[in-house]
């Protein structure tokens, strides 16, 4: 199982090789096509989900604040997000005179590509994964650091004090909170013994007690720390310091307008989905229904996709719910929370899980280590 890397790209490569390879299309072209097509599908999917999340965010915030929310465009306002997208497309694209034009134009794409790159290794249930890298989890952690580069770049290139402050804050915040995120993900890697996302999902079971979150008491804590610190990593309230509407106007994206702003916005909302799906896949069993995803028919695979989304969507809703509950922390509180609480606790979780694995021969409370 170790060296078999099943993925949508591999399947597509096989199909294309059978049909086009016979006609004499070069192998390199088939490889590029086999990877490009799933990438664009996932790009479209995450953008659509980001759009729907903006609708959900506005609707839920309205419910929480006794308001109505968007309800004019389409039934129940469901078409609000395409309308917003079209509006942003039609807006004038303004680049300030004093801005560093090249960096200013590049920054939104970096921010957006970081979230889209992370979505490439997310197992959507069944065999639906663009690339099942054997370093999938590390890949996610690495590409989410790209976000900082984009934020700092946009803050610096805007030549605006608010934007620069937002960029600097995001650098401090995201770099700090990456440590607890990575450490909590490492606790799962200890149990599963692999970095591949699909294998982590397959190592878990369909029932809650077979999920890694309930493997031992420390993984529960690790899951909570992972969820909160990933809130910080994607700049959601109560950790939205880079944006901080009331202090920094809108932070790093003050000077952006039109579609460039929309890219920042879409990146923010698709990162909610990416984080929720990461949590669902790593801690909550992903789309595992107790069947081998590669041996099952398409019907079972679609059930797996349904199970995956049934776990991801509630996590997205919790993210939104937290935003409309808690006010923004003070910046020193945010740093103290990370360095004094999250990092020591997540490190303790990692070590305790390691000791647990040694003491109980890898078995969890209910989870059993598979026999080699």
């Amino acid at each position: 199982m170790l060296y078999i890397m099943y993925s949508a790209a591999n399947t597509l490569y096989g199909i294309l090789k059978d049909h086009l390879g016979a006609v004499g299309v070069p192998d390199a072209a088939i490889t590029i096509a086999a990877y490009a097509v799933p990438c664009f599908v996932v790009l479209g999917l995450t953008s659509m989900i980001a759009g729907m999340l903006t609708y959900l965010e506005r609707k839920i915030s309205a419910d929480i604040q006794n308001r109505v929310g968007p309800n004019r465009v389409g039934p129940w306002g469901l078409l609000q997000f395409p309308a917003d997208g079209i509006k942003l497309l039609l807006k004038e694209d303004i680049i300030p005179d004093a801005a560093d034009k090249k960096l200013f134009k590049l920054a939104p794409y970096l921010v957006y590509s970081s979230t889209v790159l992370a979505s490439l290794v997310i197992p959507f249930g069944g065999s639906f994964i663009v690339a099942d890298l054997n370093i999938g989890l590390i890949f996610i952690i690495v590409v989410s650091s790209l976000l900082v580069v984009g934020f700092l770049m946009s803050g610096w290139a805007s030549n605006n004090k608010w934007a620069l402050l937002g960029g600097i804050r995001s650098a401090a915040q995201i770099i700090s909170y990456e440590i607890p995120t990575a450490l909590t993900l490492l606790t799962v890697v200890l149990i599963a013994g692999t970095f591949s996302m699909q294998e982590i999902v397959m190592a878990q079971g369909p029932w809650p007690w077979q999920w890694f979150v309930f493997h031992n008491p420390f993984t529960v804590v690790a899951f909570i720390i992972f969820f909160v610190s990933s809130l910080a990593e994607m700049n959601r309230t109560p950790f939205d310091f880079p944006e901080a509407e009331s202090e920094l106007v809108s932070g790093y994206n003050v000077e952006y307008s039109g579609m460039r702003f929309a890219l920042f916005f879409a990146a923010e909302f698709s990162s909610i989905f990416i984080t929720a799906s990461l949590a669902a896949a790593v801690f909550l069993g992903g789309g595992n229904i107790g069947r081998d995803p590669y041996a099952s028919g398409i019907g079972w695979q679609l059930v797996m996709v349904g199970v995956f989304f049934a776990k991801t969507v509630p996590l997205c809703l919790v993210t939104i719910w937290v935003r409309w509950t808690l006010p923004r922390l003070r910046i020193d509180q945010m740093m103290a929370m990370c360095w004094k609480y999250f990092i020591p606790i997540s490190f303790a979780c990692l070590v305790s899980t390691a000791v647990w694995m040694l003491a109980f021969d890898g078995n969890g409370i209910f989870w059993r280590m598979p026999k080699p």
């Binding site: 419910d63 929480i64 604040q65 006794n66 719910w321 937290v322 509950t325 609480y341």
Partner: protein, 157 residues
């Protein structure tokens, strides 16, 4: 030891207060209905814009010509001269030939309403004054000359 205890109490406090807040927002999310009034077009069955305003609301001025005695007190008391009245003396008596209220200028102070001895000028609940030309807000209450109302003698005891 004190510092250690404080460390763990901080964690407990953070979790407890977050959960309290999230329970409150969950209640508002799930249970509490919206209180928004969707003003122009979705006010609910049978409700109109005039039902939204309070009792004794100061809306557009209305003139009851059958009780106006043409005393011009409202015109004189108006601080911004938005009322213009012309009373003609004719053989058949005094005639109101003009009674304009410029609602664009009116500041809804209510002095004219208070000063009117016969309650001929009153507030209505109408508040929607949007129009394409500001001159449309000069409301002409008299289109053709009408005789003023006669003062009525009080009943002798």
């Amino acid at each position: 030891m004190n510092a250690v205890a404080r460390y763990f109490r901080n964690i407990g406090d953070a979790v407890a207060t977050t959960l309290t807040g999230m329970r409150i927002t969950l209640r508002y999310w799930v249970k509490e209905p919206a209180i928004t009034v969707e003003y122009p077009d979705r006010l609910g069955a049978g409700r109109t814009a005039r039902d939204l305003v309070a009792e004794r609301f100061r809306g557009f001025l209305q003139v009851r010509l059958n009780s106006c005695i043409g005393c011009l007190q409202c015109m004189r008391t108006c601080p911004i001269n938005c009322i213009r009245i012309v009373v003609d003396k004719r053989p058949e008596g005094r005639m109101l030939s003009r009674f304009d209220v410029n609602q664009a200028k009116c500041m809804y102070c209510g002095l004219c309403v208070e000063v009117c001895p016969t309650e001929a000028i009153v507030f209505t609940k109408r508040f929607e004054g949007a129009c394409y030309d500001i001159r449309d807000l000069r409301v002409r209450h008299v289109t053709s000359p009408v005789p003023v109302a006669q003062l009525q003698r009080k009943e002798q005891p």
